[in-house]
Amino acid sequence: MSTALRTDARPRERVRAANLLAEELARQGVTHIFGHPGGAALPLYDALFQTPGVAHLLMRHEQSGSHAAQGFARATGRAGVCLATSGPGATNLVTGLTDAYMDSTPIVALTAQVTRPLIGRDGFQEADILGITQPVTKHNWLVLEPEDLIPTIREAFHLAVSGRPGPVLVDVPRDVLQAQIEPEEEAAEPSSRKRRADPTALRRAALAITNARRPVLYVGGGVISAGASEEVRRLAKKTRIPVTTTLMAKGAFPESDPQSLGMLGMHGTVYANYAMNESDLIIALGARFDDRITGKLATFAPHAKVIHLDVDEAEIGKNRKADFPLVGDAKTVLHQLLPLVGAPDTGVWWRRVEEWKAKHPLRYEQGDGPILPQFAIDRLWHVTNSRRPILTTDVGQHQMWAAQFWKCDEPRSFITSGGLGTMGYGLPAAIGAQCALPDRLVVNINGDGSFQMTMQALVTAAEARLPIKVVIIDNQGLGMVRQWQELFYDKRFFSTELRNPDFAKVAESLGAAAFTARRPEEVDAVFQKALAVEDRPAVVNVICDPEENCYPMWPAGQSIDAMVIEDPRRARGEKS
């Protein structure tokens, strides 16, 4: 951003605030807005019509707009922007804002509001969106003075990406958008100094690492947000400590590296969970010990001391006591830490870890029967891997299988809804990622249930000629819920079977190319056909075994002792 300051004192021509807002968006580097118009937002849409360089994607539901903004942000690290009109338009953003808040994703939501005289008088399409979104945003603003509009927008963009990133919302009444105001002088970019850790605390943490015998690097999404993947790699190589990543951190450390243990947690690898359980030192980097990682907190990693590095001090000690708290930006603090650490003696520890890896690899056996979801995802990875794809997923069994079988070597290449677990996330997130990175291959692995939550977003992708690949793992039901009914509710299956539409016909009618695979031997060929489509989205419906369950797994709230490693039906010979 330019820091030039205006020096003449002549009165400047007054301009419609909406036009200045559109220009400010362009100045902030916004290239895409994911929105849906409405009455109160019309002045801004009129201004966007006159503003070159900012593309508007017409989403068919505001929730999709918020997820597309997330996909854009997660693929780039820049703030994604979504736009909605007042009332229902604004309230439809709430799920995406909550998702972004949980996953620390920087998005700027712009909402139009009814005119100032109507606020608080239950005017048509009025909603108290500030009150509604306060708990799920880093901050939000209602702009009541036209002169405050541009400074507020600048503050919003700065706040979204600074510190722990997250969503912000700016609510602008229609008459504020229409007001004539003087252009704001360009301002110097706000300082964003990265927080460093206390040197004494750092030395203590470094000593603990050097003296550990069974250490594990537990890497969370904060590492990707901070752009600290290279520092994590250097720390891992210098200390030769095994590395496990959360769902949000897939790609923060290369999963093809022999030091990688893959994902930990409820559906994580056996060896990652065993390593955490027997560790004497957990080095948590930008991770928050959430319940899908720890299970029963009281019995989680009982022998381990904890180094906990996070930019948000509210995370330190929230779930697990930190013996060595480090508050600061992950990249900055790891730079500080690296010269201080020595390599611990992990020879015995590695032999134990290697035994677990050899004994309990992730595996499946694709026979002649129905397509197994794991097989489909594994084949998709093999077919696309050479093109460095960016993967988005939706939420459910397919998400966990993707986490297990889709190997990520790059940060920002695995985009998923982690904390909130929002069905309907994956397709619009793929749209956002593809807009941000038009030269990359963007693949969305979806479920038949979650695809139906936001499938109308395909129209937007087709209109924009985005060549995203949507692969539906179609097991004709809400697989994860079904799995829980099978395991924990004595097989009382209820409201989990889906009578699906013909997804190929739906996709074609929405403007996408469509393919279907029904047999294992058809899978590679339909993936190749989808990859060949370059001028519109392609949807591949993979009809899978509806009874396949996702393992390893431990029941919610239980300790690692309760982990079920393989499908018990296979052990009993009840399933091939």
Partner: protein
């Protein structure tokens, strides 16, 4: 147990509901609440007394600190060291707050 939270805040519309929401989410009722604007533009001081346990109190303090409208969460022990007490009734006296500020600013 009763805990006292002392905050320096930007008293713009909505700040109190952001603060209160953190207590509400934990099911904590506020026993006492006092806000006083101390500068033009809404900067001010907020005092809250609420029932909480020590661990929750510590978490709430950290969560309060990350609110955009909260400039500082003062340590009640510091306040007591300056005033000899952190009883809310005494703290409601403007002079007590000012004394705290003067000491902190090294004047």
């Amino acid at each position: 147990m009763e805990y006292t939270f002392w905050l320096k805040v930007n008293g713009t519309p909505g700040f109190l509901s952001r603060v209160e929401a953190l207590f509400r989410r934990q099911g904590i009722s506020l026993r006492r609440c006092f806000f006083e604007e101390t500068a033009e533009g809404g900067a001010g001081r907020l005092l809250i007394v609420a029932d909480s346990d020590e661990a929750l109190c510590a978490l709430l303090k950290r969560q309060l600190r990350r609110l955009h409208d909260v400039y500082e969460v003062l340590d009640a022990e510091h306040v007591r060291a300056i005033h000899g007490s952190h009883e809310p009734q005494q703290a409601l006296n403007k002079g007590d707050f000012d004394g705290y500020d003067l000491v902190r600013q090294g004047r």
